[in-house]
């Protein structure tokens, strides 16, 4: 076993407990990994021989595929498990599932789970690295990181930027990871959405609350538009989708009403015509597909950094004389 310590610790559970230096080190590490996906042979031998299990207890296309591409392009061996079609439906507990995987000698687990705190729960019980791919309404750290990387790509350093998160903040782990990451890197953060979809006490995190979407567009350099999480809503949050779109939807008319060039992000999957209009999603303000491309690079960086080592000792290692 190697004794080297990852600069991120054993796991990546959320951005709440990372330092700004750690977040920046992930973003900086992601830069060179972008180029690998542009090559003809999209593979480097960085994680050769490592075994990674993608354990998805909730539906996911983008995140699961993005992790899988990241793992495969780093030459790791991967296994995908989704709750349907696994022993989970037979009533096996999370820890038992993980311990059985562990008994087959794995190195990392990437997990998505419906319960907030599931990632930390697992991380404390198994020796493998755990990467949180979304746990309930808690955090989705790699989404937060890819949003930061995309904003930085298009608007320069995060510090001083005004970023407004629009929509269903209540159900959103993406919003929480974004808020923690953006505040740590020195951005001003606001949230905007129907009061029924804003968590009570959200201002205590250090964010501003903006009452109307028109004001949000006026104030912000960047809008991160959240998906209305219809599957988590059991009535009473919004009167109707049409009314939601009319009052809270990010439309071309609302963007055109301000002089400046607002950057529009959306974590996907989009409800077109609900929280975001098609002519915005496909328009010049949108960097939604850049987010998807960056997602693979950010996940490669996280996998690389969790696999061991310490960047600050890199120079010493380079001088170790293996020219």
């Amino acid at each position: 076993m190697n004794e080297s310590v990852s600069p991120l610790g054993k796991d990546l559970i959320g951005l709440e407990h990372l330092s700004s230096e750690q977040i920046l080190s992930i973003l900086d590490t992601a830069e060179p990994f972008k180029e690998i996906s542009e090559r003809r042979i999209k593979k480097v031998p960085v994680l050769r021989g490592k075994t990674i299990v993608n354990l998805f207890f909730e539906a996911s296309t983008r995140t699961r595929v993005s992790f899988e591409f990241a793992e495969k392009r780093l030459s790791a061996d991967t296994v995908n498990i989704s709750s349907s079609g696994s022993s989970v439906v037979k009533g096996e507990t999370l820890v038992d599932t993980a311990r059985n995987l562990e008994a087959m000698r794995i190195d990392m687990v990437v997990m998505r789970h419906g319960s907030s705190g599931a990632a930390r729960f697992l991380a404390e019980r198994i020796p493998s690295s755990v990467i949180n791919a979304g746990d309930g309404q808690h955090e989705h750290p790699t989404q937060g990181l890819l949003d930061l990387l995309t904003i930085r790509d298009h608007r320069g350093p995060i510090a001083g930027l005004k970023v407004c998160i629009v929509g269903d903040v209540l159900h959103s782990r993406v919003a929480r990871s974004n808020i923690f990451g953006l505040l740590k890197l020195g951005a001003e953060v606001a949230v905007c959405g129907p009061p029924t979809l804003l968590p009570v006490g959200i201002a205590e995190l250090g964010v501003k609350v903006i009452a109307r979407v028109e004001e949000a567009v006026e104030w912000a350099d960047v809008l991160n538009v959240l998906r209305l999480q219809l599957e988590r809503m059991h009535g009473g949050y919004v009167p109707s989708l049409r009314e939601y779109n009319r009052i809270w939807g990010v439309s071309r008319a609302r963007l055109d009403a301000v002089k400046k060039d607002v950057l529009v992000l959306h974590p996907g999957p989009m409800n077109r015509g609900v929280e975001i209009d098609s002519d915005v999603a496909d328009g010049p303000h949108s960097v939604i597909l850049n987010q998807v491309t960056n997602g693979v690079a950010v996940r490669m960086a996280v996998l690389y950094l969790l696999a061991g080592g310490q960047p600050e000792r890199a120079e010493a290692a380079k001088q170790g004389g293996d020219s």
């Binding site: 080297s4 060179p32 061991g308 080592g309």
Partner: protein
Amino acid sequence: MSEDNRIHVMDEADVRRVISRMAREIVERNGGTDALVLMGIHRRGTQIGALLRAEIERAEGVRVAWGSLDITMYRDDLAIGPLPVVGASELPGGGIDGMNIVIVDDVLFTGRTTRAALNELTDWGRPGRIYLCVLVDRGGRELPIQPDIVGREIQVLPNQRVEVLVPEIDGRLGVEIINLAPEGT
């Protein structure tokens, strides 16, 4: 590190003389500058590569294609740490298929960096030829790899390190030997 640990080997004039001889050798070996691409290995190999390229361009009156290699992702010691910072490689504009690539590094020692560079190049395409060109060969190979063009062969003890100094990083051009503390070897 105190100055008396450093043994001066080559100064700027020495390095420049060697560079112009190596530049001529590269052109001679390649039978001209057709399909020639100089690719320096990060970090100091890139600087030496730039000097060679400037010299070839001056002598031959042509533009020479170039690129750079960051071999971090191809290291054979990633699993045994510590983890190095990953840098970006730069591919020449025309790609590398069928090109005659000159890998340029500052110091050739174990040969492991060269092995990594060869693997990275073959992942990018199929060069016509690959040459290895180093400013200093200090011996001590651990792999069956030999340079095609060498600036200077220097015999050093196991507890000594050869350091190539370049203006962009070190403020001056030169080659020095450093005596490492015995426990550092």
